[in-house]
C-alpha cells in the first residue's frame, strides 16, 4: 500500500501508530516486550506498525493509535513527572476518544488519581483511571494468574504500591493466584473505556495473545474506521507458555 523510504511494502491493511511512552525511564522489567509483541502481531495480521518512542521534553503525538507504558524505578518516575503533567491533557483527550492504552505497574499508578508515599506525601497522577495507590514498606512479588474478559492471563508482579479502586471502577481482572492490586480484595488492574492498567510484567502481551489482539482490534477500528480483519497466527507456543503457568499456579 505504501512506499516508505523507498522500501516497497506488500499490500498492507493500514498503518497503525504505536506509541511507547518513556521507554528509557519506564521499562525496566521487559515491558518493551509489549511493544515488540504488538508490532509483530500487527505485521502478522497484515497491518503496518509504526512504533514511536515518546521521551520527556517532547509533545505527545496526538495521532497515536495505541499507547503503551511500563514499570520503572522511583528514580525513573521522578524523571517523567514533569513531562507527564505537561502532556496530561493530550493523554486524557486521547483516552476520552477511545484510544486503547496499556499502562503497566509504575505507569498504571501514574494514570491513577495519586500515589501516596510511605511518608504520607501525595504525588498526583493524571486521573484517567479512578484508582489511588498507597506506598508500602513491603513489596508484592511473584507470579500471577488472572481471570479476565480475555480469558486467563498470566504475568509477574513486583510492586510496593497497594492500589485501591474507587467505587464503580472496573478491575482488569480477578486474581486466581498472586496478590493483585492490594493483596486483599482479589482485584487486579483497572479498565476504563479502552484504557487498561495492570501490575503484570512478564511481559504481559506475548503470552496472552487474545488480550494483545483485543487491543489491536480497538486500535484498528478507531484508526481506520473499518472492522479488524485478523490474519492467521499460530499461537501454540504462547498458549503452551500460558496454560503451563496456570496449571503450576492455580490449585483446583
Amino acid at each position: 500500500m505504501s512506499a516508505d523510504n523507498g522500501h516497497i511494502e506488500t499490500a498492507s491493511k493500514g498503518r497503525i501508530k504505536v506509541v511507547h511512552i518513556y521507554p528509557r525511564e519506564m521499562s525496566i522489567y521487559g515491558d518493551l516486550g509489549n511493544t515488540r509483541a504488538l508490532a509483530s502481531r500487527l505485521r502478522w495480521h497484515g497491518y503496518e506498525p509504526v512504533v514511536h518512542q515518546h521521551h520527556p521534553g517532547n509533545d505527545f503525538p496526538t495521532d497515536a493509535h495505541l499507547v503503551l507504558g511500563g514499570g520503572g524505578q522511583d528514580s525513573g518516575q521522578a524523571r517523567v513527572e514533569n513531562d507527564l503533567a505537561h502532556n496530561a491533557e493530550a493523554l486524557r483527550a486521547l483516552a476520552a476518544d477511545s484510544t486503547p492504552m496499556l499502562m503497566i505497574c509504575g505507569m498504571y499508578q501514574l494514570f491513577g488519581n495519586a500515589f501516596i508515599t510511605v511518608e504520607g506525601e501525595r504525588l498526583p497522577g493524571i486521573g484517567i483511571l479512578d484508582v489511588t495507590t498507597q506506598g508500602n514498606a513491603k513489596r508484592m512479588i511473584g507470579p500471577v494468574v488472572l481471570r479476565t474478559a480475555f480469558g486467563d492471563v498470566v504475568g509477574y508482579e513486583n510492586h510496593s504500591g497497594s492500589t485501591q479502586l474507587a467505587p464503580g471502577q472496573q478491575p482488569f481482572g480477578t486474581v486466581r493466584s498472586g496478590m493483585g492490586n492490594n493483596g486483599a480484595d482479589g482485584t487486579e488492574g483497572a479498565v476504563t473505556g479502552n484504557v487498561f492498567g495492570s501490575y503484570l510484567h512478564g511481559p504481559l502481551l506475548p503470552a496472552n495473545p487474545s488480550f494483545a489482539d483485543a487491543l489491536i482490534k480497538m486500535a484498528v477500528e478507531r484508526a481506520l474506521g473499518e472492522p479488524f480483519l485478523p490474519g492467521r497466527i499460530d499461537d501454540e507456543i504462547a498458549d503452551q507458555a500460558r496454560t503451563r503457568q496456570v496449571r503450576r499456579l492455580v490449585r483446583r
Partner: protein
Amino acid sequence: MLRTSLAVLAGKAARAASRLRGGGSALPGLVVETVDPRFLTHALAHLPRGVVVVTGTNGKTTTTKMLVAILREHGLTVFTNPTGSNFTRGVISSMLAEIPLSGRLRADIAVLELDEAHALKFAAAVKPTHSLLLNVARDQLDRFAEIDHTAKLLADLAEQTTTGVVLNIDDSFVSRIADRVRDGVKVTYFGVDPSIADRLPELQEADVRFEDDFIPPQPTDADGLLKPHDERSFEVRFGHNELVGPMVLKQRGLAAMINATAATATARVLLSKSFRALDAVAALERVEPPFGRGEVIDADGQPLELVLVKNPAGFTVALSTYGNAPVTTMVAINDNYADGRDVSWLYDVSFESLRDKGVALTSGVRAYDMALRLKYDDVAVTEVEPDLGVGLERFLTAYRSEPKRIFCTYTAMMALRRTLAARYGLANFGEEPA
C-alpha cells in the same frame, strides 16, 4: 573461645553428615552460626594480609578465581569460597574442611565472592580490608527490587571497607561510590582504555543509564585499563609505562578480559611493590573458565560450551562473545529462586544474532516462554522440551557430530552439568580444581 571450638566441632560434624547425604553447602554454616554467631569474625579478622570482598552483578566468580590465582602465583596462602557458595553460610561451610579447633583460619589473606545483599551481612561480621566492586546491572529484580537499590548495597559495602576499594571507572553506578569511602581509604579504578570506549555497550546495558551531571574520574597511573590487541590478546596498562601483558585467556570474550583487568588492578593494590607483572600474566593465562561460564566439555568428540546467563547484561555479553561463531544452540531457562523467578528480563535481550542458525531446542521449566521470546525476534526454534534431562539427551544425540553451545540459567546449568559430568566423566561441583 570454647564456644568457637564447639561451633567448629558441630560444623565439622554437620559437614560430614551432609556430605554423606550428598546435601547442600548451607546447613553446616547454619549450625556454626547458631552455636557461635561471632564465628566469622574469629576466623577471618586476624588474617595478616586482610579480607577482600569481590561483588557486583556480573563476573564475580571469574574475577575471584583470577585474583586468587595471581595472589597464589606470588606465594600467598589464600582462602577463597568455591563457586556458587556466595552467601555467608556458604563461606562458613567452605572453611570447615581446613579450619583448626581454635577457629582461626590459617591463611595469609581471604578473597571472597559475595552476593551483593550478603556482602553487607558479611561486613557486619568482618569489615573487609578491601572491596572490588565490579558493576551494577539488572539481576533478579524479584530479589533486589531495583537497580538503584543494588547500587546502594555496593556503596554501603564500600563505606564498611577499611583500607582500599577498587571500582569500575566506566560504570557510573560504581565509580561514583568513590565519594562514599571513609577518609584514608585508597580508591583505585579499573576500566577500558579510551581507545575502545565504543565497545562499552558490549559490557553493560545502556537503557537503564541516564545522562546526568556526573563527571567520570580521570584514570591515574595506579589504575588498570584494558587494551585489547585482537579478539583474544590484550594487555592491562597502568599509566604510560607499566604494562601487564600481552596475554591470552582460556575464557573468551571482552567480559573475561575486563574481569582479568579488575583482578590485576586489585592484585597490584594488595601486593604493592611485590607485584610482578610476569607472574600475573602466567597466573591469568592458566585460569580455567569456572563451571558453566564458557566451560568447554568434550561431548563425543565435539566441543560443547556451557554458558551461564543470569540477566540482560550477562546474556547480551554472552551473545556478543559467541555471536561471531554460531554453532548449534540450546537455551535452558528455569525460574527457581536462584534463577530469578521473573523471566521478563528475556525481553530486554536481543536474540537477532541467533537468527541465521536458529535454536535447536529450548528446555527448562520456562522452555515455552523462551521459545515464545525467540519467536518474537524471528528466531526459528526446532524443538521445545521442558524436561531438562530429556532435552539434553535429544540435543546431544540429534546433533552428535556438531559443535554445540548451551545458554542456561543457574539451576538449569547445575542440573545439566550434573548429567554431563556423569556422562563424560567430569569433575563435580565442589571438586573444582582451584
